[in-house]
């Protein structure tokens, strides 16, 4: 079979129905339950990730509601200490590991291939494996929780409390293994994003033309690669101490309790930027559509992202200021923690410049962007305050910190996320969400957020520590706590409004069309929802705003195979065509591998036999995965391509 050469030119308007059907056959998933289990389509997998992560968000929210109910009155008896401790641990673990990071990665896995103009992520089966492992890991945590074996040591699981002496049973082991699951999932997603972004961009999308959201996902993916191994190692050490009897954290035998804190926070601080940077990418994606101009200061925005990513690894000790580290060392971390406000400030100023010089449209996504700035700046300024060691020594481990991080995480990440859902729901489902319900959602959320978390700044100063299941009436903390709990109710109502919006719009929402917001990135150049193959002809890009910089010539690249799955690889810097790469067909082996690894991790907390059993199962799954198929043999004729006509 002669391989066709790649041609870049204008699309010839023809009746492309036959071509579309052929592409559907090649790229579509198999029908039925088997197709559901074996799909490697990044959009299917992305939707599952997003939905599953959102379900975890709701579960985490229920846990928060229970906590706020318990704390609404002094000496309340709604939850005893054991249940409360499990619930606050579950709330933190769910929100941080099962919701925030996965949903940001998931949005990346869905939209980055579309935005860079390719057909799928770089390693489709690995992507499927990541989702299944995420589902298994998250379900494992919750099944354990319902079996009264949910972790109760806090999401940060400090030793020695979570160590072998002071945490009896399997609760802390459940936590440690959940970390192992989620951290592999995160690394898998990061690998996908990095390789897809570097090698599968559309022709002409050189590095300085990548959408800011794609930059944000790229930088986040690198952060994940460096940060996740730290927590994975830490949780492995914890599991070894608990199950095998090592002494990593045992001072009596040469270990150190602070080792845990260093390892955990070396991950833990970048973790919050792993959650926040994609959110800044979301804001930079949506703002052009609602201000009718590209984001101001592209080079500054990109450099800000990169410098935040680097600096984020130099802040971790600010979580340990109360542990008595030497003053000189602490000062270094004060300096870096203060410095990181500068690139964040650059981003905010560029967004303000964009809004100022643009022509704003106040659809719901724009409201969430404005709400984001409103809330994030509050969280940001309190963040600079707690970078100071003496100040932190008062407010560390109090509700002041709870207020700070909810402002930056809910305001700084969840608000852009909700905005992005309103923005991209039309693309994913083909229908618009209701603007009316959207406005109710936004205002209730904004008001609820402030009612819940603003009083907590004062509670921190008045002496209320974190992680307390109750407090005495004589402390006087009752009224502010009650206010916070009412605010939580308002937030809950806002989320319910959102869910109602989603459910009704799925059925009755206005039909969206390809580009309802008249936006500038490539995902809007295809149908809503996109077909399995994303673009009939691979787009060619001529500027930073792919759709607005197109000029009168709308160029595409044709010539990749329509008989089998093939993507175009381009060079890393300039995105010139490089080669064609064949992609595997749908496969059950990612699910099999995820099950094998699930068995390995889950049984490992009960018996060391898990290792040989898991190794055997894993080997079988790996063999099945890697076994060359007929299609793989045929497609060994991947070849370099040349450009013809430009």
């Amino acid at each position: 079979m002669t391989a066709p050469t790649l041609v870049i030119g204008e699309p010839v308007p023809v009746d492309d129905r036959a071509e579309r059907e052929q592409m559907d056959r090649v790229w579509g998933s198999k029908p039925g339950f088997w197709g559901w289990l074996t799909t490697t389509n990044h959009k299917e997998i992305g939707k599952r990730y997003i939905t599953t992560a959102f379900i975890f968000f709701l579960l985490g929210g229920i846990e928060a509601a229970m906590m706020r109910t318990q704390l609404s009155r002094p000496e309340n008896s709604f939850l005893g200490p054991d249940k409360y401790n499990q619930i606050f641990t579950m709330h933190g673990t769910t929100m941080m590991f099962l919701f925030a990071v996965p949903i940001m990665e998931a949005i990346g896995l869905y939209f980055v291939p579309l935005m860079v103009g390719t057909r799928n992520v770089a390693f489709p089966r690995l992507n499927a494996f990541g989702y299944w492992l995420f589902l298994i890991g998250g379900s494992f945590l919750y099944v354990q929780f319902f079996l009264n074996t949910g972790p109760d040591v806090g999401w940060f699981s400090y030793v020695p409390l979570s160590g072998p002496q002071f945490s009896p049973g399997k609760r802390a082991d459940t936590w440690a293994q959940t970390i192992t699951f989620t951290e592999i999932v995160a690394i898998v997603g990061a690998i996908e994003l990095i390789v897809t972004i570097f090698k599968q961009r559309a022709v002409g999308m050189s590095l300085n033309r990548i959408p800011i959201f794609v930059w944000a996902m790229l930088v986040t993916a690198f952060m994940i690669m460096f940060a996740m191994p730290a927590v994975a190692t830490a949780s492995m050490y914890l599991a070894l101490d608990r199950l095998v009897g090592t002494h990593f954290f045992n001072p009596a035998e040469g270990g150190d309790v602070l080792l845990w804190q260093h390892m955990f926070w070396f991950f833990g601080h970048p973790e919050v930027y792993i959650i926040f940077l994609p959110a800044t990418g979301l804001v930079s994606t949506m703002l052009p559509a609602f201000t009718r101009r590209p984001v101001f200061g592209y080079p500054a925005m990109v450099l800000a992202l990169i410098s935040v990513a680097f600096m984020a690894f130099g802040l971790w000790v600010h979580h340990m200021f109360a542990t008595g580290i030497p003053q000189l060392a602490a000062s270094f971390f004060t300096a870096t923690s203060t410095m990181i406000a500068i690139p964040s400030g650059v981003q905010i100023f560029c967004w303000l410049a964009t809004i100022w010089s643009g022509r704003p449209r106040f659809a719901t996504p724009m409201l969430f962007i404005l709400g984001f700035i409103f809330l994030f700046v509050i969280g940001g300024v309190t963040g600079v305050m707690i970078a100071s060691v003496p100040f932190d020594l008062q407010v560390h481990d109090t509700f002041f910190i709870v207020a700070h991080f909810h402002y930056v995480l809910v305001g700084g990440a969840v608000f852009p996320l909700f905005g992005a859902i309103y923005y991209w729901f039309p693309k994913v489902t083909g229908r618009m969400l209701s603007e009316k319900l959207g406005k109710w959602n936004f205002w209730l959320f904004l008001i609820g957020m402030n009612m819940t978390f603003f009083p907590m700044h004062w509670l921190g100063f008045y002496g209320m520590p974190r992680r307390v299941y109750t407090y005495l009436a004589s402390t006087g903390w009752g009224p502010l706590n009650l206010l916070a709990s009412v605010g939580a109710l308002v937030i809950a109502i806002s989320v319910i409004v959102f869910l109602v919006n989603v459910v009704t719009s799925l059925r009755h929402g206005e039909i969206a069309g390809d580009n309802p917001w008249d936006a500038d990135t490539l995902e809007w150049a295809t149908t809503s929802p996109p077909p399995a193959y994303n673009f009939l002809h691979l787009p060619v890009v001529q500027g930073r705003s792919a759709l607005w910089d197109e000029g009168d010539e709308h160029q595409v690249a044709v010539g990749t195979s329509t008989e089998r799955r093939e993507v175009l690889l381009t060079t890393t810097l300039d995105a010139q065509p490089d080669s064609r790469e064949s992609h595997p067909h749908d496969s059950i082996w990612p699910l099999a591998m995820a099950l094998a690894i699930g068995v390995l991790f889950i049984t490992a907390i009960f018996t060391p036999l898990a290792l040989p059993i898991g190794a055997v199962l894993g080997f079988i799954a790996f063999a099945g995965w890697a076994w060359p198929t007929k299609e793989d043999v045929e497609s060994e004729s991947d070849e370099k391509v040349s450009l013809e006509g430009a």
Binding site: T51, S139, Y142, F146, L147, Q165, F166
Partner: protein, 191 residues
Amino acid sequence: MCSRFADRAVRAGTAVIAIAALAACPRERRTFHDSPPAASVAAESAKSVRSDSGVSREGPYGDNAYALYQGKTLFAAFNCMGCHSHGGGGMGPPLMDSAWIYGYEPANIYATIANGRPNGMPSFKDRITPQQIWELVAYVRSMSGQGSKAARTSRNDEMEVRAAESQTTTEKPVLVTPPPTVNPPAQEGHP
């Protein structure tokens, strides 16, 4: 996510969770007030070696991780180590081997702790509560590997002097003849 297979999966998952919730794991139960059986067992005489008091095979706490942890804490707090060391014995007999002088059933060990034994084991029934005695019973049995492996305690954050109870191989307990009594049975013991 609109596929009906997703719906089925969600329903299946919910069912699993509901079943799990009903079957809440006994290993992880934490009861802070408890009234475990005491009266019938405490009445057992000092010399009896075997007793069938109707208590479950492992005692009320043999498979409960929190109770084993409490038992281990109390073992140190009440200075059982003074005579028994960390299970290797000293003035008192070893507790981590398979040899049991006065019986190895939970009820026997309860009686040992509550009533004392000849040759120096004090009586503790007036000094510690029945719940504490049962926790100690469970812990002492776990020292030789009896009871649920998953619930047994792990190493303490101390210098390592013996393998953790969770890694102790189960020793099949055997009764051995009691040594000759050189002292009368212990009076109100001191800690």
